[in-house]
Symmetry: C2
Subunit: 389 residues, 2 copies
């Protein structure tokens, strides 16, 4: 089929708060062809991401992302893979391009699956989609007492794994952090997985991390996530010598960066956001590498069930990699994005839908109120205007 249109929707909550909650806005991508619609989501700042699709060319290696995809033929997996190659060949000097590509790539996989009437994980070569164990992702409380209360809530809701992150952690004293770590473990109980996410606060300062190692070990942390910035390879490598299981990768915006993190950062868990890394095409290639390297692949998903389905496809068939990030406190925008949801079963496990494509239906009616009316005009011509559902 021929791709007939590609539309970007800038969606947002009426008010965006200055908190570590990525579900407050969204870039939704719709791809139309053959009488069907495919949907994808970029986990990215909407305006620069849309600008990267529509901007005028700067030179041969700094073209808008639309160059790689407008009017293309879509019949096979190879056609989708060609889009990534074209973006990297023609837009490698456009930094934001990988984030823009991500939503397009996801939408193309959704569309191809619908066209061929198979779930995306089958297109990716997996015979089966294995159940995954979702963990609840929570922000640390403002005080250790609040962190404790949040952990209790997670436990009472039946979560077997909880990740705490962001909020005050890493910014104050090691002593205060230790109190938060212990509060989380006490609230959650010893029988459940507990993960800690520093949110890159220490940038590349290994000393800050070393001061917390003993406390993290004492709460038997399942992983320590993003103590440092993306690509701070030396800092990660140095910390990995202290036998703390490290998790990172959500900041990678392409396969090569993820590959570098796998090779040099001493990670045990490789966390990939399909909405940032270039979509399902890059995510699947990374998942194959984690298998070869005997590392564990984990999705990074903090937004909608569309993003969740997209993020699970790339490692759906890897039976041993069971841990899954699951949007637990998402804002109403992301809650309302899809008609159908990927719900945990009574044992707390989730499985991908068996419907064609990504298997989730977009809630067009419900999303209308979140559209951020946007217009970009260059030389008197409107090159972007918010589309209709």
């Amino acid at each position: 089929m021929k791709i007939e249109s590609i539309d970007f929707f800038y969606l947002s909550m009426p008010e965006v708060e200055d908190i570590g909650d990525g579900s407050q806005d969204s870039v939704l991508v719709r791809v139309r062809g053959g009488g069907l619609e495919g949907w994808g989501e970029c986990e990215a700042s909407p305006l620069p991401t849309i600008a990267s699709y529509v901007c005028p060319m700067s030179h041969s290696a700094c073209k808008p992302v639309k160059y790689a995809v407008e009017g293309m033929e879509l019949k096979s997996i190879a056609d989708i893979q060609k889009v990534t190659q074209k973006v990297h060949e023609h837009s490698f000097d456009l930094l934001q391009a990988d984030h823009t590509l991500s939503g397009i790539d996801i939408a193309l996989w959704d569309l191809l699956g619908k066209y061929l009437e198979v779930p995306v994980y089958e297109l990716l070569g997996y015979k089966k989609s294995y159940p995954k164990l979702p963990y609840a992702s929570m922000l640390f409380g403002d005080t250790p007492a609040e962190t404790y209360a949040k952990a209790r809530t997670g436990r009472s809701q039946g979560f077997k794994a909880v990740k705490f992150g962001w909020g005050p952690i890493g910014k104050g004293s090691a002593q205060l952090d230790t109190e938060h770590f212990r509060a989380a473990r006490e609230g959650l109980g010893v029988e459940n997985y507990l993960m800690v996410d520093i949110g890159t606060v220490w940038h590349d300062d290994v000393e800050k991390a070393k001061e917390r190692v003993a406390a993290l070990k004492s709460i038997d942390v399942y992983w320590l996530e993003e103590p440092f910035a993306n690509m701070a390879l030396g800092a990660y490598q140095a910390l990995s010598k202290y036998n703390i299981p490290l998790a990172a990768g959500e900041g990678c915006n392409n396969y090569l960066q993820a590959s570098a993190m796998m090779e040099y950062a001493g990670l045990e868990f490789v966390q990939i956001d399909t909405g940032r890394v270039g979509g399902i095409t890059s995510a699947k290639r990374i998942a194959e590498d984690t298998e070869k390297r005997k590392l564990t692949y984990v999705n990074h998903t903090f937004t909608s069930h569309l993003a969740l389905s997209a993020s699970l496809q790339s490692y759906a068939g890897i039976e041993k990699d069971i841990i899954t990030e699951f949007p637990f406190e998402a804002k109403s925008l992301c809650e309302e994005m899809t008609v159908s949801k990927i719900q945990p079963n009574t044992d707390g496990w989730i499985t991908l839908p068996e419907q064609p494509g990504l298997g989730v239906e977009i809630n067009k009616k419900g999303l209308e109120k979140y559209i951020v009316d946007t217009e970009i005009k260059v030389k008197g011509n409107v090159i972007y205007q918010s589309p209709d559902f």
Copy 2:
């Protein structure tokens, strides 16, 4: 002084061609404070770069770049360094942010230099600015005969160093590439430096590079530039074992990436574009590292003499690193950007201006005709409109 305004100018040639010439458009940044103006340039796609400055916040780590700089106090170097820290703390999920930061950082150094009445290289701690030897950067010809003719021209113009890149190279057979390499050397003569730039065409395919190693050695190539994509660390590392001097780094958009390339890519030459890497602040930190690691720092500059001055400051005081990229075939937009130019002396060497700041004056009158009239409207409010000079 207080920063009173920060303005972004989207400038472009009337027609942008699909060729590897980055001087066809520009993002110029003006920072005003204390009755003075500082100027910087982002080597980046204009529209996404501007969007990254003005876009609404997505969450605490995905804020517009303006958050880090609007209304700030500028009195010392530390104030400028704080901007980089703030961007990385508050905008690390906004991929394009580093390119936006680059022009701002350069403009802040220019302004601080003017305010304190010293050249930027002195602010950076260098006592002296050493002369540099510019090389002519040329595109390979369409045929080996054309490449030969271009090399002859470079030689007859008195260049002691010429770099050939892009065009057909790397895309056809190894035999054809070999003919281009030999034509370049024959045309240039054995007494001059000859560099070859593959422009990342092989992405991460080491085999393609290996097929050309013998030919590159036979022409005594001074360096082989960007055989692979930015961050293809494994491919670079593998190729470095073949004793070909490797150059790369222009694709790095922050210090951490450059640091990873220095540590793991087996480079001998570290090429930094101040307009991409986060500005002079990051570039200087990288220059310090190249000294410690006994590598050679080289600027990447293909545009204006504003960009050239900015790119030279960070290694102006490193006497041994003499090689400098110099814009030789820039389009009229970049030619006309500055009133003053950094011209080679009779021996072919260049030296930084001794005037305060970057020491180049912007040609406001001449640039008016290149302004690309642009408007971005969100929720009915104009959040960006092309400013006046």
